[in-house]
């Protein structure tokens, strides 16, 4: 089971569109074998601080290990999955 966390700031149209795109990618790739938790840092700033989130949008793959953290643009699914699967992250 893959576990993802997406840190966002507010829920504006652009962010909602980003969430939908990301959900589409993840569903296509992992079917129902994933969970995606959305953390709005405006609602939960403490969590962002504890998880060392310095900017949004940030996507974290927390399981299976290793943890991977990506900041910025997730619109290119090829680049996104290449990074999520790369072995350089620790």
């Amino acid at each position: 089971m893959y576990t993802f966390l997406l840190y966002i700031t507010g829920r504006r149209q652009k962010t909602l569109a980003l969430i939908e795109t990301l959900k589409g990618f993840l569903t296509e790739r992992f079917k129902d074998q994933y969970s995606l938790e959305i953390v709005d840092v405006l609602e939960d700033p403490r969590r962002a601080e504890e998880d060392m989130i310095l900017a949004t949008p940030t996507l974290v793959k927390s399981a299976p290990p290793p943890i991977r953290k990506i900041i910025g643009d997730f619109r290119n699914s090829q680049d996104l999955f290449a990074l999520l699967n790369s072995t350089d992250h620790t």
């Binding site: 569109a17 991977r68 350089d88």
Partner: protein, 313 residues
């Protein structure tokens, strides 16, 4: 006055030897270090693991953290190749609260260095620019009187919503409504009262629909609502909810007149896409039909009343 130097001069200057015949490497390092240190743009260099290797003073300022606090720590892999990307920067506050949010535009470049590849994120603080942009956007897209979106705002947000509906394959309803008898209210009670009636109608719409729905005043006495993620059979429920809210509003005892709203509906089916203007047009026509029906009903009621009075005389 000193003469301007040619590019060749500066290229030669870069490789000038020191007195011992060695290139002045230290001078050049110092020169580039000063450029990076004095750059107004934040520069943060990470490795492929997303761990910070270097940040300049502008980056320390932007993130509100020192090099000591950030170098070696996880920043994340910055992904923005090609196009610049807007990021929200979270600056630390007291007791783990995010004290301030900045907006930065990020560009990323790959640096091949000896046996490793590093990634340099250039971040430009555009917080003020974004604030001004939002202000302009608000001025251009919001109706002054009611605070709802104006027609342009409705069209802009509506188009985004249609794209989203196409992707998610979830339908939507466009509800077109018209505040009846605005001219009569203006003529009888004055334009101030007419404005007040429009504000009340806007409030009724706001209280009826969800925050995620797009509500707008699209003309003098016309309103439009894009009710997102609605089922095809929920149109009548939406219209009934609006009329119910209107009845509650009209039931207030101190009213000099009752507000009346006519409604038309059109369903957006992602399987047969239409433009926002087509939707508005179809819902407008549906509303016109309802208005005509209302008139006919009123006229026939008056006819019955007349007949009743005629019979009693």
């Amino acid at each position: 006055m000193e003469e301007a130097k040619t590019p060749e001069f500066w290229l030669n200057e870069r490789s000038t030897m020191d007195q011992g015949g060695k290139p002045r490497v230290q001078d050049h390092e110092e020169f580039f270090r000063l450029i990076v240190e004095h750059s107004a743009d934040a520069i943060i260099v990470v490795d492929r693991g997303g761990f910070v290797r270097f940040l300049n003073p502008a980056a320390e300022h932007l993130f509100g953290r020192t090099s000591e606090q950030m170098v070696g720590k996880s920043f994340g892999f910055p992904m923005a190749f090609g196009m610049p990307l807007e990021l929200n920067i979270l600056r630390p506050g007291q007791e783990s609260r995010v004290a301030e949010m900045r907006v930065a535009e990020m560009r990323v470049a790959e640096i091949a260095r000896q046996n490793e590849t590093l990634y340099m994120a250039n971040l430009r603080d555009i917080t003020e620019l974004v604030r001004l942009r939002e202000e302009l956007r608000t001025m251009a897209l919001i109706d002054d009187l009611t605070g709802l979106n104006n027609r342009r705002g409705f069209s802009t947000l509506g188009q985004q919503q249609l794209k989203l509906a196409d992707r998610t394959k979830r339908g939507m309803f466009l509800l077109f409504s018209d505040l009846d008898n605005l001219k009569w209210i203006n003529d009888t009670f004055g334009h101030h009262e007419g404005d007040q009636a429009l504000i009340e109608a806007a409030t009724i719409h706001r209280e009826t629909f969800r925050q995620s729905d797009i509500i707008a005043r699209v003309g003098g006495d016309e309103f439009a609502v894009l009710a997102v993620e609605a089922y095809q059979d929920s149109g009548d429920i939406l219209a009934a909810r609006l009329q119910e809210r209107l009845r509650t509003h009209n039931a207030q005892s101190n009213r000099r007149y009752k507000l009346s709203i006519s409604v038309g509906l059109d369903y957006y089916d992602p399987l047969s896409p239409r433009s926002i203007d087509e939707l508005l047009d179809r819902a407008d026509r549906s509303m016109y039909e309802q208005k005509q029906q209302k008139k006919q009903m009123r006229n026939s009621e008056r006819g019955i009343e007349k007949k009743k009075h005629g019979n009693t005389r």
